[in-house]
């Protein structure tokens, strides 16, 4: 018994263990409910199936969450990503809608470049507030979270801009090499971010800034630049997610696009094991976290539950994952388990002391 336990310890102790268990549980539940859930088929050279759908739909969230991971690793938080999604989507769609030929590749690329550039500016704004002026990240990005939403509506004049552009639509629903284009984009961005952080020293420097900003400064780290950079990267990721979301529905709604995506992204990061206090970050964990959130949403749709009611499940999952990962909860659980046979008086006493 104990040897099995000891052998399993490195597995169960791995930070991805519980998130992965959660993901598997969700997939199993879906399969039980609908046995065809796991099947993937090739139609017209494109892969189809629930699993593919889940990955495709989680692509925007993965993108936003990747940027968020870096921001959170520096000890910050970016609440404005939802607004950036809305603004970038709105700018791109507005520009395309004003083109004589909405299908011209040149027009679409110009639109993307324009929207991307604006998103980078918004990211830089956040970065300047945090790194140069020294405002707390949660407040600094709250500004753009509120104002950015208004900005997006200003751009769309409060309307929903509908476009009819095949190249743009491809970003959301197209296919490449049998796979949905969105998945490929997410994959490429993931690889870029991973290479950017782990093949260079950026990851370690980010972690050192998040772990101890003053010590990093005294070690000669250019913390300001790094902080500014992560907010720009976060906004860039959000912009790409914004293109994907608006391309999915071929329209931009300044009010609804990317609504609450910041919360989902933060959740994905936290579920993935990155601490909100900053320091070590785990991109693989973040991706698993994003997949969990999307699987949950998809399963709820599949089971014909009102999407809003799905929030109930989300709440349960969030609390469950956070509790399992919380050291305080684990400590309690372990203590109760190990002390269960002979109730140790000191432990009991300590427990009673806690509320006082």
């Amino acid at each position: 018994m104990s040897t099995v336990k000891a052998r399993l310890a490195p597995v169960t102790g791995h930070r991805l263990f519980w998130p992965l268990v959660m993901l598997v549980v969700l997939l199993v539940a879906n399969t039980v409910y609908r046995p065809s859930f796991l099947s993937v088929e090739l139609k017209n050279g494109h892969l189809y199936g629930s699993l593919i759908d889940i990955v495709r739909l989680s692509a925007p969230l993965i993108l936003v969450a990747l940027g968020m991971s870096l921001v959170i690793a520096t000890g910050g938080i970016d609440l404005s990503v939802g607004s950036v999604v809305a603004v970038s989507g709105a700018v791109a769609c507005l520009y395309i809608s004003e083109q004589p030929d909405q299908n011209s590749l040149g027009g679409v690329f110009t639109a993307l470049a324009l929207a991307f550039g604006i998103a980078l500016l918004l990211g830089a704004w956040n970065g300047v507030l945090v790194a140069v002026i020294g405002i707390q990240p949660i407040i600094a990005t709250l500004i753009l979270m509120v104002a950015g939403r208004g900005l997006a509506q200003l751009i769309t004049s409060g309307q929903i801009i509908t476009i009819n552009s095949e190249p743009y639509k491809t970003i959301g629903v197209g296919h490449l090499l049998t796979l949905p284009f969105a998945i490929i984009i997410a994959l490429v961005v993931t690889v870029i971010v991973a290479v950017l952080t782990r093949r260079t020293a950026l990851g370690m420097i980010i972690e050192s800034v998040g772990g101890n900003a003053e010590a990093s400064r005294l070690a000669g780290v250019r913390s300001r630049r790094i902080t500014l950079l992560v907010y720009v990267v976060s906004a860039a990721c959000a912009a790409i997610a914004g293109f994907m979301m608006t391309a999915n529905v071929s329209s931009a709604d300044g009010n609804a696009a990317g609504l609450w995506v910041e919360l989902d992204a933060i959740l994905a990061v936290v579920i993935g094991g990155t601490s909100l206090a900053g320091g070590r970050f785990f991109l693989s964990g973040t991706i698993v976290g994003a997949l969990i959130i999307q699987t949950l949403t998809t399963s709820v749709y599949a089971m014909n539950i009102d999407p809003q009611t799905a929030l109930l499940f989300k709440a349960v999952v969030v609390i469950a994952v956070c509790l399992i990962q919380a050291p305080a909860f684990r400590a309690r659980f372990r203590r109760r388990k190990s002390l269960a046979p002979p109730p140790a008086p000191t432990a009991e006493k300590q427990k009673e002391q806690v509320p006082a």
Binding site: M204, E207, G211, E214, A219, Q353
Partner: protein, 514 residues
């Protein structure tokens, strides 16, 4: 005095933490109207004993009696209610509240259930008057100096009809005048019959005020002594528990040749460098291969000088000359560019990144200098880290272990390694041997001597005069944020002369005019 009954007795106290036996059958007693110093090196169990006493921790074994009744407090508040109050090293008050509130929060005077602010202010004024402190109690605590905040903490502690007052290193952030006032207040409280448990690292304070000394070592009781019957050297031996000759060896090795070091163009020269509110303008020259020791009391401006050299704070007066050329060092990056390195005295807050591994911490400064786009190749990292782990005998020798899991001495070595791999020409060490065990201390001292023999300039800051004298070619003496003397470390220089310089602030004979 010992005819009287002790107000507090702790008998055979034991406390375990996972992997550590923090207290092992420790006895302790405290008489009314006495100051009892609790002494021991880091890790001796002083703070654990205090936490057990005040109910922060439960005991595994042993009893505590207060006035003959056995007690077991559930927490500091209950302890305080029973007359056992604690003042901690860091002022543990809320700077965002008024002085009056800080004294009374949790037990505010109330009328009809509502807090009676006027009564609270009146009583706060009274409580502070008892300590001879007359300030506006409705002001925010944060607008007063640290010393005043410490006094307010004591006022809070004694206001609850305290019979036992625990002062846990209350003087470590105070200057000499403030310490004098604190000791005066302690005497006054003692004369009022309060029993004071006093924890401090300053031996002269112990001999200045304590009636009795209890020494702990490695969680065990070494003994209880009357101060008058315990010479200082004996106390140090009991605290450290081993012979001091490990330190003495260095003397022969170093063989500081003062004349040799000060030749040629200075590596770095501070010319009227200063910063308002931190340190008065000073001039100081450091040559390659020279160890400049910096002596002075805590808060005398030693660290501030170091920070100006490193650009951690920006100077607002004077200039720095590096290699004979005037150079502006506005930030650490500029300093590192000039091959200057700085090991801060606060390893945890200003030195290491606890979460990152030993390897990452060692590589950090080198990597930061290269920029993140040019990572140090992993093989080179491993090579460098392995070499320095061996050279400095960092234990455990696991480069991937998070650095926060290392002991203080090993953390200090990691910090040293971080800077040594950047091959600096000037190494600034701020209290590198504080709070680490004696073995690591000797190793670090030996390393400093070696580095200087190899041509590195070192600015060595330490509170321990012996250490400064042993290592330095030249001793710069700080007092009240001024550089008051620069003494060549020849045969005629001894601790007495340095202390004289610290105490009088008058420039001494044999002063080097630079």
């Amino acid at each position: 005095m010992s005819q009287r009954h002790p107000v507090l007795t702790m008998t055979a106290i034991s406390k375990h933490f996972p992997g550590v036996r923090a207290l092992d059958g420790v006895d302790f007693r405290l008489f009314p109207g006495e100051v009892h110093a609790l002494m021991g090196e880091n890790g001796a169990g002083k703070s654990t004993l205090i936490k057990v006493l005040t109910g922060v921790y439960g005991t595994d074994a042993g009893t505590i009696t207060l006035d003959g009744d056995q007690v077991s407090f559930a927490g500091p508040m209950q302890a305080a209610a029973a007359g056992v109050s604690t003042v901690y090293q860091e002022v543990n008050l809320c700077t965002n509240l008024s002085v009056a509130e800080n004294i009374f929060i949790g037990r505010e005077p109330r009328r009809f259930g509502a807090i009676n602010w006027r009564e609270m202010r009146r009583r706060a004024q009274e409580a502070l008057a008892r300590l001879d402190l007359h300030i506006d109690v409705s002001e925010l605590l944060g607008s007063y100096s640290l010393a005043v905040q410490q006094m307010v903490a004591i006022a809070r502690a004694v206001d609850v009809q305290a019979r036992v007052l625990i002062l846990d290193e209350p003087t470590s952030s105070l200057d000499a005048d403030e310490v004098a006032q604190l000791l005066r207040i302690m005497r006054q409280l003692r004369d009022e019959g309060i029993a004071i448990l006093f924890v401090t690292h300053f031996l002269d304070q112990v001999y200045g005020i304590a009636d009795r000394i209890t020494v702990l070592r490695n969680g065990r009781l070494v003994g209880e002594y009357l101060t008058a019957e315990l010479p200082q050297l004996a106390l140090v031996e009991k605290m450290i528990g081993k012979e001091l000759d490990a330190l003495e060896q260095l003397d022969s090795e170093a063989g500081r040749d003062a004349a040799r070091a000060a030749e040629g163009t200075p590596l770095i020269e501070a010319d009227g460098l200063g910063r308002a509110g931190a340190v008065a303008p000073f001039s100081l020259t450091i040559h390659a291969g020279e160890v400049v020791g910096m002596a002075g009391l805590l808060g005398s401006g030693r660290t501030e000088v170091a920070r100006l050299f490193f650009g951690a704070d920006r100077a607002d007066k004077g200039r720095l000359v590096v290699d004979g050329k005037p150079t502006a060092i506005r930030n650490p990056i500029a300093a590192i560019d000039r091959d200057i390195a700085f090991c801060s005295e606060n390893r945890r807050t200003e030195g290491l990144i606890g979460e990152l591994s030993v390897r990452e911490n060692i590589i950090l400064a080198m990597q930061a200098a290269r920029g993140w786009l040019r990572p140090v190749p992993r093989r080179k990292q491993d090579e460098l880290v392995q070499r320095w782990i061996e050279a400095l005998s960092i234990r455990p020798a696991n480069p991937e272990m998070p650095v926060r899991n290392l002991s203080g001495g090993n953390q200090q070595k990691v910090l040293l390694a971080r800077w040594l791999i950047t091959e600096p020409r000037l190494l600034i060490l701020d209290e590198p041997t504080r709070g680490i065990d004696i073995g690591a201390k000797t190793e670090i001292q030996r390393l400093v001597a070696q580095l200087s023999d190899g041509g590195m300039a070192v600015l060595f800051i330490s509170a321990e005069l012996e250490e400064v004298l042993r290592l330095s070619h030249k001793v710069a003496v700080m007092r009240d944020r001024q550089l008051v003397a620069q003494l060549t470390n020849d045969d005629s220089l001894d601790a007495d002369r340095v202390m004289q310089a610290i105490a009088s602030g008058v420039r001494q004979e044999g002063l080097e005019k630079v």
